[in-house]
């Protein structure tokens, strides 16, 4: 009975849960990623939160009840006004009480007392300040606001110039949530390009780029920012400065992405399907873009997600140093600039609320990135 040649039934390496793969073979990659991603509950929740945050950013001016730049000298540092509701017949529905204020000439501030006789009704689909919805339609329709747009309602309080914090926070979502995207986009281009060269060609290219990364990482980033930010020409409008700052951020940010890309390239280079493509005579760009890049797109997406929070936080740090975005641009970092003195913390703690927005979005992005990363490589378990 030993006449059979030792011939095997073709089979991959055996591991306990491998059995699942039999059917999973046929599913497309995105589906596999999705299946795995689903398991990370926190990432799922975060994904929903982020979609909401980006929707807020998209419809910010529709959601903001007041013009974020509108100052009001009678409501300097007015505390958040609480919402009351009374839906009886002839009743105002949802409303806030008005406040009366006096100036304390010694303490140099306004003192506020709630005036229950003054009822300021709020309503949905109210009219307010004019804006262009999605940059196209000129309108003054807002999700909610005081029924009479001239009456103030500061649901999250006001800042030192009497501007509505809620509106500013909503409007700030736009810049804060996009600064990361733009910055990451540049990091991505640089990171994939240089990381790809480093990982694919290896050798002296790899050495050179690795040294470059080492070098960039060894420079403390804050002096670098300070130097670059101060060097920006005066005549640049706020938008261009904003753009330039994202570029500055990405100048450092690309290194970590390049490392990821390089690592993936290094491991993929040895994979059979790449060898097969090479033996097939496929051109190098084809190997890289057709065969290798798709194999770790999910990794890249995960890395991007994880890079955005860093950018958001960098923006707040730059603002702290007075180097980031500046008024009248509204971003969370700019708003937090107001909160970062003892005076605000002691007497106007509501100015810290934008920090919650930062925390929530950064947390959500982190979890989302984690989920994506867990799911990025669907073929390992």
């Amino acid at each position: 009975m030993t006449t059979e040649a030792p011939q095997s039934i073709p089979t991959p390496r055996v591991e306990a849960p491998r059995e699942v793969e039999a059917q999973v073979f046929v599913a497309p990659q995105w589906k596999l990623v999705w299946w795995k991603f689903r398991k990370h509950k926190m990432a799922m929740v975060s994904g929903v939160i982020l979609i909401l945050i980006y929707l807020v950013a998209l419809f910010a001016d529709f959601l903001a009840p007041f013009d974020p730049g509108l100052t009001n000298s009678t409501y300097l540092y007015v505390p958040p006004q609480s919402i009351h509701a009374d839906f009886g017949e002839g009743k105002p529905g949802v409303y806030v009480y008005g406040v009366t204020s006096t100036v304390d000439p010694v303490a140099l501030r306004r003192e506020f007392t709630i005036d229950p006789s003054q009822v300021i009704p709020l309503k949905f689909w109210g009219r307010g300040w004019e804006y262009k919805l999605l940059g196209i339609f000129k309108t003054n329709l807002h999700l909610f606001g005081p029924a009479d747009p001239a009456q103030p309602a500061y649901l999250l309080g006001a800042d030192r110039l009497g501007r509505d914090l809620l509106s500013r926070m909503i409007m700030g979502t736009r810049i804060s949530m996009s600064i990361g995207l733009v910055g990451v986009f540049f990091s991505l281009v640089l990171g994939i390009f240089l990381g790809g060269i480093s990982g694919y060609y290896g050798g002296s290219w790899d050495q050179l780029i690795q040294r470059l990364i080492d070098f960039l990482r060894s420079i403390p980033s804050i002096p670098l920012w300070m130097g670059l930010a101060a060097a920006m020409p005066l005549q640049w409008p706020a938008q261009r400065v904003y753009f330039a700052i994202t570029v500055i951020l990405s100048l450092i940010g690309w290194t970590s992405l390049a490392r990821v890309v390089r690592g993936r390239f290094l491991s993929l280079r040895e994979e059979d399907f790449v060898t097969a493509a090479r033996l097939d005579g496929a051109s190098q760009p084809r190997i890289i873009f057709r065969h290798m890049l798709p194999a770790f797109t999910s990794h890249i997406i995960a890395s991007i997600t994880l890079a955005i929070p860093g950018m958001i936080l960098s923006e707040t740090s730059l603002s702290f140093l007075g180097l980031g975005l500046r008024e009248p641009v509204v971003s969370w970092g700019v708003l937090l600039q107001d909160a970062q003195d003892i005076r605000s913390i002691a007497t106007a703690p509501w100015l810290l609320i934008p920090a919650i927005a930062v925390v929530v979005s950064v947390l959500a992005l982190n979890f989302l990135g984690d989920g994506l990363r867990d799911a990025a490589d669907p073929y390992t378990r």
Partner: protein, 668 residues
């Protein structure tokens, strides 16, 4: 120093005679003739100094112990024959530590304003006349060219060495005249472009001689300009001076200290020729004439600096107690304001009026007065405006230059600003709308200068602007003659929150009248670089010269590079050969001539009259736009600290609080 500072103090002197008789805001000016004129400054000491028998002098217990132990000569021997008697409002007790906060780097002012103001003469606390200090008496020639000073005899440096005319001789010949240490003679030591001549008459007599009359010299001596004069102990300074140390030894010293030039070492160990710098506070036990001497010195790494009483301090109170009352000063070195503010709130700062006392912080300091056991005192600010918007009349772009130089354009912009709204929003209703001008109640008050074009009137604004830029594009933006939209970038130093806020509001108002305006806050050195080379469109800086425009006329005509609206014209005035110089139009030249007339006047009345003519010309020219009068600021003092006045003037020329004699402060 710009040489105009020569003149700034003469008038200040007068001014405060009537200003500060009653500090209340309603104080009406007293007639100018009551004011002592600078050239009439007392020849004899003003303070009555009844001779006190030696036995009546007393000293701090710790010093008495040292005398007992034979470590120190008795107080009578340490004090000069005729110590300066400074009457304390309340006779104090010895003891205690005075805690303060300072910032690192160039914050020598924190020392200077508390203890470093020990010059030949000093301002009275009310800033209404000049009184003896290290000079016991002086004579001034009738043409104001010769100043002779008699030094207080027997004054000793804190190490017991005598302070004599030799020290001042060394200061003049080896410090301010040494080109290694000071490239050119400081402006206040020159007149008509010629440096002063110095002569040591005898051990205790010195003489300064000017070629051209200089009526402001005494006032300069009483101001921070002269702070190095009495701060160079020759016996100590020679060991760091290239002239007195042999080359090899100097080389070794430089090498050991890591210095590249001997100037650096001298500045670090002794003093900077112009008086600034940390030199006097960098070396423990450095000989000094100040009330306190350095114990733990300042350095770039210091987290605190301590100073202890100078046993040889040469002032006593009315009971013969040697000053200072307070044993020790402790300065915490803070990197940033929040910690300093928290220390203040927590009652860990005894008296301070720098760094954290911003208008914004007032509310939180006010709220914590009880827990911190301190109170606030008032500082009356000497400025001419909260914000001076300087449009660059020397703009490099010819189109912009022509527009900005058009007075109608500036008038239009001025009408476009809602000043009351800015006051209500940024300054919590304190102050009233005003252009940059001398404060009401001074002899320099010019109603037209202060109040022209300050109403908020958009129609008028458009009317004036239409005269200059009638065309608008589809977005309502006015177009320049070359068809480009009219844009203005207002630069603001980002450290000044209120000016940043004002700038943003101004930008909003100007946008509303069709001028595309952006307020740009930036690091102040960046702003300065742009301003110095007139690369800006406009910038905002606080208004100076509100109490005496003769001393600081920057906002009224282009006198120096702080006149940011016309740096090129100012450069021409300073030196027509300057590469930055631009020849000004006749109007400006007339103002420059007028100012030279002011300087040529030897009497204060004459100076005021000429200056008022100049101010009228300035009002007609309308060089820069202001917002509002300056609200008072404040400082904090612990409730157990006595002799702290409830109100002081706050100025640099009168280096608050030094003239109110911090050595008389005490704890009880």
């Amino acid at each position: 120093m710009s040489h105009q500072t020569l003149y700034r103090f003469a008038s200040l002197l007068i001014l405060f005679a009537f200003l500060l008789g009653g500090c209340g805001p309603a104080a009406t000016p007293t007639p100018a003739q009551e004011v002592p004129k600078p050239t009439e400054a007392p020849v004899k000491p003003v303070a009555t100094e009844p001779p006190v028998p030696a036995s009546k002098y007393s000293e701090a217990p710790a010093l008495a112990e040292m005398v007992e132990a034979g470590e120190l000569p008795p107080v009578e021997e340490r004090l000069p024959a005729n110590p300066l008697i400074v009457e304390a409002a309340e006779v104090g007790e010895y003891g205690g530590t005075w805690r303060m906060g300072m910032r690192g780097g160039t914050d020598d002012v924190s020392f200077y304003r508390i203890l470093g103001y020990e010059t030949l003469v000093r301002w009275t606390p009310a800033w209404d006349s000049i009184v003896p200090n290290l000079a016991e008496s002086w004579e001034v020639s009738d043409d104001a060219t010769e100043y002779t000073f008699h030094l207080r005899q027997g004054v000793k440096w804190s190490d017991g060495e005598s302070f004599t005319a030799d020290d001042i001789d060394f200061w003049f010949n080896d410090v301010v005249s040494n080109t290694d240490l000071q490239a050119t003679m400081p402006a206040w030591l020159t007149s008509g472009g010629k440096p002063v001549k110095f002569e040591k008459v005898d051990e205790y007599t010195i003489k300064f001689t000017f070629e051209v009359p200089n009526g402001l010299f005494l006032q300069n001596l009483a101001s921070p300009d002269a702070r190095s004069l009495t701060n160079v102990p020759k016996h100590y300074a020679v060991q760091y001076h290239a002239t007195y140390v042999d080359a090899a030894k100097l080389e070794a010293m430089l090498k050991e200290g890591g210095y590249t030039a001997w100037k650096d070492m001298f500045v670090a160990k002794v003093v900077q020729a112009d008086g600034g710098g940390m030199g006097p506070y960098n070396v423990a036990g450095r000989p000094t004439l100040f009330a306190w001497m350095v114990e733990e010195p300042f350095s770039g790494n210091a987290t605190q600096v301590t100073l202890v009483r100078n046993p040889y301090y040469w002032k006593v109170d009315q009971n013969g107690q040697q000053y200072p009352y307070i044993d020790k000063l402790v300065y915490g070195v803070y990197q940033d304001i929040p910690t300093m503010l928290l220390k203040a709130l927590n009652g860990e700062i005894d008296f301070q009026m720098r760094h954290f006392n911003t208008l914004l912080n007032k509310a939180v300091l006010y709220d914590n007065m009880v827990t911190g056991d301190y109170h606030l005192f008032n500082l009356k600010e000497a400025g001419s405006n909260t914000n001076v918007i300087m449009l660059n009349l020397n703009h490099k772009d010819p189109v912009m230059r022509e527009i900005l130089q058009n007075k109608d354009f500036r008038i239009g912009l001025s009408y476009a600003i809602n000043r009351q709204d800015i006051i209500n929003t940024v300054y919590v209703t304190v102050g009233k709308p005003s252009q940059p001008a001398a404060q009401e109640g001074t002899p320099f008050y010019n109603e037209q200068l202060a109040t022209q074009y300050i109403e908020y009137d958009v129609d008028k604004a458009n009317e004036y602007l239409d005269k200059v830029l009638p065309d608008k594009n589809a977005d309502g933006i006015r177009l320049r003659p070359d068809g480009k939209p009219m844009t203005i970038v207002i630069e603001i130093a980002n450290a000044f929150t209120q000016q940043v806020d004002t700038g943003n509001l101004v930008a909003k108002y100007w946008n509303a009248v069709g001028i595309l305006t952006e307020a740009k806050s930036e690091d102040r050195s960046l702003m300065y670089e742009n301003k110095n080379n007139y690369l800006h469109d406009a910038y905002i800086w606080g208004g100076e010269g509100g109490m005496n425009p003769i001393l600081d006329p920057r906002n009224f005509f282009p006198n120096g590079n702080e006149s940011g609206y016309a740096v090129g014209w100012a450069a021409w005035y300073q030196n027509p050969a300057d590469p930055l110089a631009i020849e000004p139009p006749a109007e400006i030249k007339a103002m420059i001539d007028k100012y030279n007339e002011v300087k040529a006047e030897t009497t204060f009345d004459g100076q005021v009259a000429k200056m008022n003519e100049l101010l009228q010309m300035s009002a007609d020219f309308f060089p820069c736009i202001g917002i509002s009068t300056v609200p008072p600021s404040y400082g904090i003092a612990k409730n157990n600290m006595h002799n702290v006045p409830d109100e002081m003037i706050n100025s640099w020329s009168y280096p608050t609080p030094a003239p109110v004699n911090p050595f008389t402060f005490f704890f009880k």
